[in-house]
């Protein structure tokens, strides 16, 4: 999947300029940059939610898995009913809930879930569509450290099994290093990609916070 953005504006303010991205299957790309730089806007463009930009997007993927900043579950439906919106395969849903550590929670109404649980359900929903592209918008925002660590471990296991291209938006360098194969750094006003480098680490190293911190320091992120 390739996207070329010549310019993206909000009223008179230009937020993105001359941004070119190529995404590959089975590759996890982290978009790193300060808050408000336009990372989420870029994700919305990749998802086809925002078409109001100058430039072109070649082949919008058929199946898109999107984990929004807020889980965006339907609070009046149970966990199972929320997941049934995207797939009819009951066995697949049950296996996914099991994988997310939510076995036995399928009948809980979503407005009774904690933020951490809701995020896991949202991740399950995104994976259940068998996405061609998986978009994760600050998946650990508003979570405390232990919960974020728990979700990160779960994500590492889940997204590595996917055949799709994955894009993670974050402003946390440690999250970017731990999860991705490639980091794109967005900076400037209007924002553009200023650095693009690969992350070569074993799965075991990604689970070691000290190793991840070392890489962050080495890369001067």
């Amino acid at each position: 999947m390739r996207i070329d953005i010549a310019s993206k504006q909000f009223s008179d303010r230009e937020v993105l300029q001359n941004l070119h991205m190529q995404l590959y299957p089975r590759q996890v790309t982290a978009l790193l940059g300060p808050s408000g730089i336009g990372k989420s806007t870029l994700l919305q463009i990749l998802a086809g939610l925002d078409r109001d930009f100058e430039g072109k997007q070649l082949s919008l993927p058929k199946n898109i898995g999107f984990c929004f900043q807020e889980p965006r579950l339907l609070p009046w439906l149970s966990v199972l009913e929320n997941l049934k919106l995207v797939t009819k395969q009951q066995s697949e849903i049950e296996a996914m809930l099991d994988q997310m550590g939510l076995a036995g929670q399928s009948q809980i109404l979503c407005h009774h879930l904690s933020l951490g649980m809701a995020r896991r359900v949202a991740l399950a929903r995104a994976l259940l569509v068998h996405p061609d592209i998986l978009l994760l918008d600050e998946p650990f925002a508003s979570l405390d450290k232990p919960r974020a660590r728990q979700l990160l471990t779960l994500m590492l296991a889940s997204i590595r099994q996917q055949q799709c291209a994955t894009v993670i938006v974050t402003h946390e360098p440690t999250e970017a290093v731990a999860l991705s194969d490639r980091i794109l750094i967005l900076d400037g006003t209007p924002a553009t990609i200023v650095r693009d480098f690969p992350i070569e680490m074993t799965e075991h190293q990604r689970h070691q916070p000290k190793v991840v911190s070392c890489v962050v320091a080495q890369l001067n992120l």
Binding site: E70, R72, L74
Partner: protein, 256 residues
């Protein structure tokens, strides 16, 4: 036999109703006027009308008109509200029509319906429904405009079919608006039905009120109006309140 738990829960309301009846009794005894009969006199008239079968007969006719007009007004009003709320151009085109109908006096619509369609059941029900449709349309339209756009984006990304979007995302968010429309609709519709019956029908509570007015029969006026208020209270308690409670269960909670 009223359960003790019910009495405990509704103690304040029961005291309030008792006070109202006490005030009425006090005023009627003090004034000694035929314009304000005592509760006992009204009770006697109630027993008389009930045993003759007249009360039930006329209340049922009014209830029949209320139900038909209510279902008609709700169905058309909700459909139009959804269309206007979701389609900006459609809303812009029909906004003037809506405001015109909204501001048309109920009496004008009733008279015009009787003149155009004739003194029939169809014109009576059409007049009542036409009076209520604009209000329901406006409430549902505003509800549709207030839909959570983040959930609509979610539906767009996951390419949910329109049927699921409507039943699972839009309608649950609009249910409180439906309840509000139903509640205000019922209250307004039965009052308009009385006017319609008074002007052009030969049965129903409105017709009976007209007769009682001509005979200066205040106890009968109170009997018929209080009985019908009782019916509406019953609908409120049995249908609308439980629906309202269910619809608002998730409200006030954090919608992720």
């Amino acid at each position: 036999m009223i359960p003790k738990t019910y009495l405990a829960q509704h103690k304040l309301q029961l005291i309030s109703v008792s006070c109202m009846i006490a005030c009425w009794a006090f005023l009627s005894i003090w004034l000694q006027s035929t314009s304000l009969p005592t509760p006992v006199l009204v009770w006697d008239a109630f027993s008389r009308e009930l045993s003759s079968g007249e009360l039930l007969h006329h209340c049922m006719w009014t209830m029949y008109r209320v139900v038909i007009a209510f279902v008609l007004a709700m169905s058309i009003g909700v459909a139009l509200g959804l269309i206007f709320g979701l389609n900006i151009r459609c809303n812009q085109f029909f906004d003037v029509w809506l405001i015109t109908l909204l501001n048309m006096p109920a009496l004008v619509i009733i008279i015009l319906c009787y003149l155009w369609i004739g003194l029939s059941e169809v014109s009576a029900i059409t007049a009542v429904a036409l009076n209520k449709i604009p209000n329901i349309t406006v409430v549902v339209r505003e509800g549709t405009r207030a839909l959570d756009q983040k959930l609509m984006q979610m539906a767009q990304v996951f390419r949910l079919p329109m049927r699921l979007i409507l039943w699972r995302i839009i309608l649950p968010q609009l249910t409180p608006y439906f309840v509000a429309s139903a509640r205000s609709g019922l209250a307004l519709i039965w009052k308009i039905v009385l006017v319609v019956e008074l002007l052009g029908r030969s049965n129903g509570v409105g017709f009976q009120l007209h007769l009682a007015f001509q005979m200066f029969d205040v106890p009968s006026i109170l009997v018929y109006s209080l009985t019908f208020i009782g019916f509406i209270w019953l609908v409120e308690l049995v249908v609308i309140k439980p629906w309202d409670r269910r619809a608002n269960e998730w409200r006030g909670q954090h919608a992720y």
